[in-house]
C-alpha cells in the first residue's frame, strides 16, 4: 500500500504541494488530477524518490521510499523518457537491469509484451525510428516489465489511438487484479472515470477533492436531466434550483442543484407532448472537476 501523509514541497518560496495526504491500497487504481502546474508531477517525483518532501512522509508497504524499494516501482513519465539512439532491446535491457532484473528475464518479458502490443518486429529497431504511439508503448513496457508493486503513470494515454488506449487499460486492469497499486494522471476525464476507483483533485498543490469516485459523485449534489420531447423549456428555466439548460437538436439537458428540484422539473415535463425520454444522471467527472478547479480545463 502506498501512503502519502501530510506531504508538503517547497521550491524556494513556492509551495508546489500543500499538505497532501492519500492512500492507494493494493489492487486499487487511483487518479491524481489537476490542471497543469497543480503539483501532480512533483507528487509523482516525490513518490519515486526523485525529490525529497519538505514535510511529511511517503511509504510503500510501511517502508519509507528510498533506493531499497524503488525496484518495486514502475514509472511512466509524461514526456518520452527513452534513449532514442538505443534499440528497443538495448533500452529494455538498460532499464530492466536498473530494476534488478537479469538479462534473460528481461528478454523473455520483452518478447511477451512486444507480442502483446503488436510491435514484435521493432525489437531490434532504434527508438528514434518508431512512431510516437509505438514509443509510448515501449515506454509503457519499460514501466511494467519488472512487474511492479506500484505503477505510476503520468499521462499514459498521450499519443495513443482509441484501440491502443483500450489495450493499455486492459493491461492496467490485469496489474490491478494481480494486486498492484496504480496511480495515474490524465487530462482525459473519461479515462479516469472509466476505471478509477479513488481520486484526488489538486489545485495549486492542495487537495480540493478526494475520495472514491462513487462518493464524490454522490456528494456532488448537482444532477443532469436529459429530456427529449416538446416541453415548456422557459418554465423549466424559471424554476428555482435550475442552474442551466442546454438545448440540442431534439434534446434538452437541464442542470439542477440537487435531487429536490427533480420533481418540479418532472411536473412541467408531464404537461409536455411527445415525451420519449426523461433521464436523470450523475454529472460527469469533467463537470465536477471544472466546478472544483474553477477554471476551464485545458484538455
Amino acid at each position: 500500500m502506498l501512503k502519502v501523509s501530510h506531504v508538503t514541497k517547497y521550491y524556494d518560496t513556492l509551495k508546489a504541494v500543500d499538505d497532501l495526504s492519500f492512500e492507494v491500497k493494493d489492487g486499487e487504481i487511483f487518479g491524481l488530477l489537476g490542471v497543469n502546474g497543480a503539483g501532480k508531477t512533483t507528487t509523482f517525483r516525490m513518490i519515486i524518490g526523485l525529490l525529497e518532501p519538505t514535510n511529511g512522509t511517503i511509504t510503500l508497504d510501511g517502508v519509507p521510499i528510498d533506493y531499497t524499494v524503488t525496484d518495486k516501482i514502475g514509472f511512466l513519465t509524461e514526456e518520452r523518457s527513452l534513449l532514442t539512439k538505443l534499440t528497443v532491446e538495448e533500452q529494455m535491457i538498460y532499464y530492466g537491469t536498473l530494476k534488478g532484473m537479469s538479462k534473460n528475464d528481461i528478454l523473455k518479458e520483452l518478447d511477451y509484451w512486444l507480442d502483446r502490443f503488436h510491435i514484435k518486429e521493432y525489437k531490434k529497431r532504434k527508438i528514434k525510428e518508431l512512431s510516437k504511439g509505438n514509443q509510448q508503448k515501449i515506454q509503457f513496457i519499460s514501466a511494467i516489465i519488472h512487474k511492479p508493486k506500484l505503477l505510476i503513470l503520468d499521462e499514459p494515454f498521450t499519443g495513443l489511438d482509441p484501440i491502443n488506449v483500450e489495450l493499455f487499460m486492459d493491461v492496467m486492469r490485469e496489474f490491478k487484479k494481480q494486486g498492484s497499486s496504480i496511480i495515474f494522471s490524465s487530462h482525459r476525464m473519461e479515462h479516469v472515470e472509466m476505471f478509477c476507483e479513488k481520486l484526488v483533485i489538486l489545485v495549486k498543490g492542495k487537495s480540493v477533492l478526494e475520495g472514491s469516485l462513487k462518493e464524490i459523485k454522490k456528494e456532488y449534489r448537482k444532477k443532469n436531466i436529459h429530456i427529449i420531447g416538446d416541453v415548456d423549456i422557459d418554465a423549466i428555466k424559471k424554476l428555482d434550483g435550475v442552474v442551466e439548460v442546454l438545448t440540442f437538436a431534439n434534446e434538452f439537458i437541464v442542470k439542477i442543484e440537487n435531487d429536490s428540484i427533480m420533481e418540479n422539473v418532472f411536473a412541467i415535463v408531464k404537461k409536455g407532448k411527445n415525451i420519449s425520454e426523461f433521464r436523470v444522471e450523475d454529472p460527469s467527472l469533467n463537470e465536477i472537476f471544472l466546478s472544483k478547479v474553477g477554471e476551464v480545463y485545458e484538455g
Binding site: 526523485l50 513519465t77 518520452r80 527513452l82 534513449l83 532514442t84 539512439k85 532499464y95 537491469t97 536498473l98
Partner: protein, 436 residues
C-alpha cells in the same frame, strides 16, 4: 548499488566504444598516423619536379672542378635539395640550345682579379633559391680555398684555420645534463602533452554530450529513480576516464605501428636519412637522461594524469548537469578549453623561460599541473618532491570538486529551467550532506 554502478559504467563505456563511429575514427587515426610518419616517403613516391634529375654542366677556367664538385655534393646533400648530376664540359655555351628542352644548368668558373674566382650561371628558367644557394656556397668554398692558398700557408695551417674551434663542455649538475632542452620539450610535448590535450577534449565532449542526452530525453528521471545520483555520476566519470585511457593506449599502439611502418617503407635515400635522424634523436634522448627521469617520475605521472582525467570528467559532468541543451554545454565548456590551452602554452614556454617562477607556481595549480609538472620535471626544473606535492594538491582538489560537484549534479540533472540557474546551483552547494 555496486552492481548497478558496474552496469552503468559498462553501459556508458559500451555506448562510446561499441559504435561504428568509434571504430571508423580509430581506423582513420591509425591511417593518419601511418600517413604522417611516412609523409616524406609518400611525397617521394608520387614524385614531382624535385625528383627530376638536374644536369649541371661546369666549364672550369680556374682548375678547381673537383673541389667545386665535392663542395656542391656536400652542400646539396645537407640541404636535401634535389637530384643533381655534375659534369665537366669544355664549352658550356654549346648546350644553350638544349636548355629549353632539358633540365640543365650551365656554370662557368672564371678567375677574378679582386675575388680570386667568380661564377656565371645560365639556365632557361629560374633555378630556385635553394639551388642558387647550393651553387653559391660551393663557389664560396672554392674562393676560400684560393684565398688561403694565396696567403702561402702550409696544408696543416690551412687545415687548422678552416676546422671549427674546440669548446669542451663540463656540467657539474647531473640533472642539468640535458644537451638540448628544446628537443626534450618538443618530444615531451609531442608524446605526452599533445595526446593528453586531445584526450581531455574528447573526455569533456563525450561526457557532456552523454549527460545532456540523458537529461534532455528525460531518461534521467527513470535512471535516477533507480540509482542514486552519486552512483550515476560515478559511473559517468569512470566510463569517461576508462574511455580516454583505452583511447590513449590505442594511440600509443598506433604510434608504434606508424614507426614500425616507417622502418618498413623507408627505402628511399631521403627516408634513410630521416630514419638515421630519428635514431640519432632517440640516442640523444637516451643520453640526455630524460628516459631515466621519465622512469623515476612515471608512477607519479600516472597518478597525476589519472586524477586530472577524473577532475576534468567531474567538472564536465557538473557543467553538463546544469545545462538544459547541448548548445549551453558547448558554451560553458569553453573556459575549460582555455584552461587546457593555457597549460599547453605554458608547458612550451617552460623551455624558453628556464626556471620561471610563474610557470613553476602554475605547475601546482590543479587542472594545469598535469600539463606543466611532468614537463618541468623532465626539463630538470622541478624536483621529485615538487612533483609529488603538485600531484597531492591535484588529488585533494579532485576530491573536493567531486564532493561539492555532486551536490550541484543532484540538483542539476533534474532541473530543466535556466531561470536563476546559478543561484540554484550555489544553493545546492550549501545544502547539508544528508540531503545529498
Amino acid at each position: 548499488m555496486k552492481d548497478k554502478l558496474k552496469f552503468l559504467t559498462k553501459q556508458s563505456l559500451d555506448r562510446k566504444i561499441n559504435t561504428k563511429t568509434f571504430k571508423i575514427v580509430n581506423i582513420l587515426l591509425l591511417c593518419l598516423l601511418i600517413f604522417i610518419a611516412n609523409i616524406d616517403s609518400i611525397v617521394h613516391l608520387f614524385g614531382g619536379d624535385f625528383n627530376e634529375e638536374t644536369k649541371v654542366y661546369v666549364e672550369d677556367h680556374v682548375n678547381s672542378y673537383s673541389l667545386f664538385e665535392e663542395a656542391f655534393s656536400n652542400i646539396s646533400e645537407s640541404f636535401q635539395s634535389g637530384n643533381y648530376v655534375l659534369e665537366k664540359k669544355d664549352n658550356v655555351e654549346e648546350f644553350q640550345d638544349s636548355l629549353e628542352k632539358e633540365n640543365i644548368i650551365l656554370i662557368k668558373l672564371l678567375p677574378d682579379d679582386t675575388n680570386y674566382v667568380k661564377g656565371e650561371l645560365i639556365s632557361y628558367n629560374d633555378v630556385g633559391m635553394i639551388a642558387f644557394n647550393v651553387i653559391q656556397n660551393a663557389l664560396s668554398t672554392v674562393k676560400d680555398r684560393f684565398a688561403i692558398s694565396a696567403s702561402g700557408l702550409s696544408e696543416e695551417e690551412i687545415s687548422a684555420l678552416t676546422s671549427p674551434a674546440v669548446l669542451e663542455k663540463t656540467i657539474l649538475n647531473e640533472e642539468e645534463s640535458s644537451e638540448n632542452k628544446e628537443m626534450v620539450a618538443s618530444i615531451v610535448s609531442l608524446v605526452i602533452i599533445l595526446p593528453c590535450f586531445f584526450l581531455i577534449l574528447l573526455l569533456v565532449q563525450m561526457l557532456g554530450a552523454e549527460v545532456n542526452d540523458e537529461k534532455t530525453t528525460r531518461s534521467m528521471e527513470i535512471i535516477i529513480s533507480n540509482v542514486s545520483p552519486k552512483t550515476h555520476f560515478l559511473s559517468k566519470i569512470f566510463a569517461a576516464t576508462l574511455f580516454v585511457l583505452i583511447q590513449g593506449i590505442l594511440l600509443l599502439v598506433y604510434g608504434g605501428l606508424a614507426l614500425f611502418s616507417r622502418s618498413l617503407f623507408s627505402s628511399s635515400a631521403t627516408s634513410l636519412i630521416q630514419t638515421d635522424g630519428m635514431m640519432e634523436l632517440l640516442e640523444t634522448v637516451k643520453s640526455s637522461g630524460i628516459l631515466t627521469l621519465f622512469v623515476r617520475g612515471l608512477p607519479i605521472f600516472i597518478i597525476l594524469f589519472l586524477s586530472s582525467f577524473l577532475l576534468y570528467a567531474i567538472v564536465a559532468g557538473v557543467l553538463a548537469s546544469m545545462t538544459t541543451n547541448i548548445e549551453d554545454f558547448q558554451q560553458l565548456q569553453t573556459p575549460m578549453m582555455l584552461i587546457i590551452m593555457l597549460g599547453y602554452y605554458l608547458s612550451l614556454m617552460a623551455v624558453q623561460f628556464d626556471g620561471a617562477i610563474f610557470i613553476k607556481i602554475m605547475a601546482f595549480v590543479p587542472m594545469l599541473s598535469f600539463l606543466l609538472a611532468p614537463v618541468l620535471f623532465l626539463l630538470g626544473q622541478f624536483q621529485m618532491i615538487e612533483l609529488v606535492i603538485s600531484t597531492i594538491i591535484n588529488v585533494v582538489f579532485t576530491w573536493i570538486v567531486f564532493h561539492y560537484g555532486l551536490r550541484i549534479y543532484k540538483v542539476g540533472i533534474l532541473n530543466y529551467s535556466s531561470q536563476k540557474l546559478w543561484k540554484k546551483m550555489f544553493q545546492s552547494i550549501k545544502k547539508n550532506k544528508k540531503e545529498i
